[in-house]
Assembly symmetry: C2
Homo-oligomer: 224 residues x 2
Amino acid sequence: MISQAMEDYLKAIYKLQQTIKPVPTSALAEHMGFSPASVTNMCKKLAELNLLHYEPYQGVVFTEAGLQVALEIIRHHRLIELYLSKALNVPWDQVHAEAEKLEHVISEDLEDRMAEMLGDPQFDPHGAPIPSRNGTIFRPESESLIDMKAGNRFVVVEVNDDDSELLRYLGTIGLYPGTELLLVERAPFDGPLTLKVAGKQHNLGYQAAKSVRVAPVETSQEPS
Amino acid sequence: MISQAMEDYLKAIYKLQQTIKPVPTSALAEHMGFSPASVTNMCKKLAELNLLHYEPYQGVVFTEAGLQVALEIIRHHRLIELYLSKALNVPWDQVHAEAEKLEHVISEDLEDRMAEMLGDPQFDPHGAPIPSRNGTIFRPESESLIDMKAGNRFVVVEVNDDDSELLRYLGTIGLYPGTELLLVERAPFDGPLTLKVAGKQHNLGYQAAKSVRVAPVETSQEPS
DNA sequence: CCAAAGGTTTAGGTAAGTCTAACCTAGAGG
DNA sequence: CCTCTAGGTTAGACTTACCTAAACCTTTGG
Ligand SMILES: [Mn+2]
Ligand SMILES: [Mn+2]
Ligand SMILES: [Mn+2]
Ligand SMILES: [Mn+2]
């Protein structure tokens, strides 16, 4: 009933509706790399299945059922990423591509077994929250590094998981979720940011910094 | 280039050509549950890709390239079965269904990681040989239990992996690959077989016994 | 309140993979 | 050695999922 293509649409809609609601079909089209005509078409089908509310010219919004399906697939994706990373040592820049294919194909039983093996984990290797079995999700507060003020300390909360090259680069610097950093300086005009991570200084390009989301570090006492 | 459907055809052809060569398109059709017309159609496509030799009305035979593709998928299938069974404790009657979907979707990298984690295993949970990375396979001699003479001892070599219910039943008896058994008696006219497994006696239906392949136990000294 | 931007519809197309129904062929048995 | 039928093939059509181009409609902001 719900095809793989539909699942991918729902995932994309989930991502976009975190920013815009309702989601314009044109935004969806651009995000997915399909023509607007194709997207309108598919949205009508998904509305037919009661997964979306679709109002012509107004974009789409999830129905409760649609949201649950989306979260279900996202749970698969993120659990698989974490599982591959932990159980098979797949590098964090490769797990996303692998999960994109596996997420559509694993059984609920396998999902449960992976979750159990991992101790019902809350976050994937890129810091994204894993929806719970019953479809709830909590995303911790975070903001992009590029919007932060220089001179402050932050923890990496989440990084973009769909750019393999970028992830490999962030890995060499050590910018994993949980890592602390000091934002030393921000060059103006969307220039690079200077960071201190684990005692070492780095220049991070603007585009790279954009996909690193952080939270302020609680003003803790420096361990003497 | 090679679609999932094509992979399934090649797998089916591999199975059938162990018995009949060349493989009649009708046998393929019956095995796969498709119409003969669909199968002829696909065989022509596979021949076009140089994966099969196809002679109208004469059935199909693998080319070397086709055989390698088939073995590649079978390696995926069996590695996945063993991995799920060992790493995630998936029961042996469920691994087949799961592997049917996953086999088409895992990367070569994941295949290698699973193989490594398992120590380059030779057999899947049902006793079927796992093709090596470079496409060689060795299937140990074995014969169906129904062709064996009563009064002799055997080891289970391999069981049919595509009937979940049967596997669950064999599991309750303890008939796993490697298990020793004594064939006590064979009822005539395709009747049930009486076995002794681990000291307990069982009556195994003819159909069930058919899918259990065994080898004679070397006449070893009974441990006193 | 009207024009441009955004979105939809229509029409027509491709590519898999499947089907049914009509047809053909090989080869066994009369 | 000829015929009949089981086994195979061909033809034509359908479905799903995507595409484009071009005409058209709606919303909204200036
Ligand atoms: Mn699930
Ligand atoms: Mn991720
Ligand atoms: Mn492989
Ligand atoms: Mn198996």
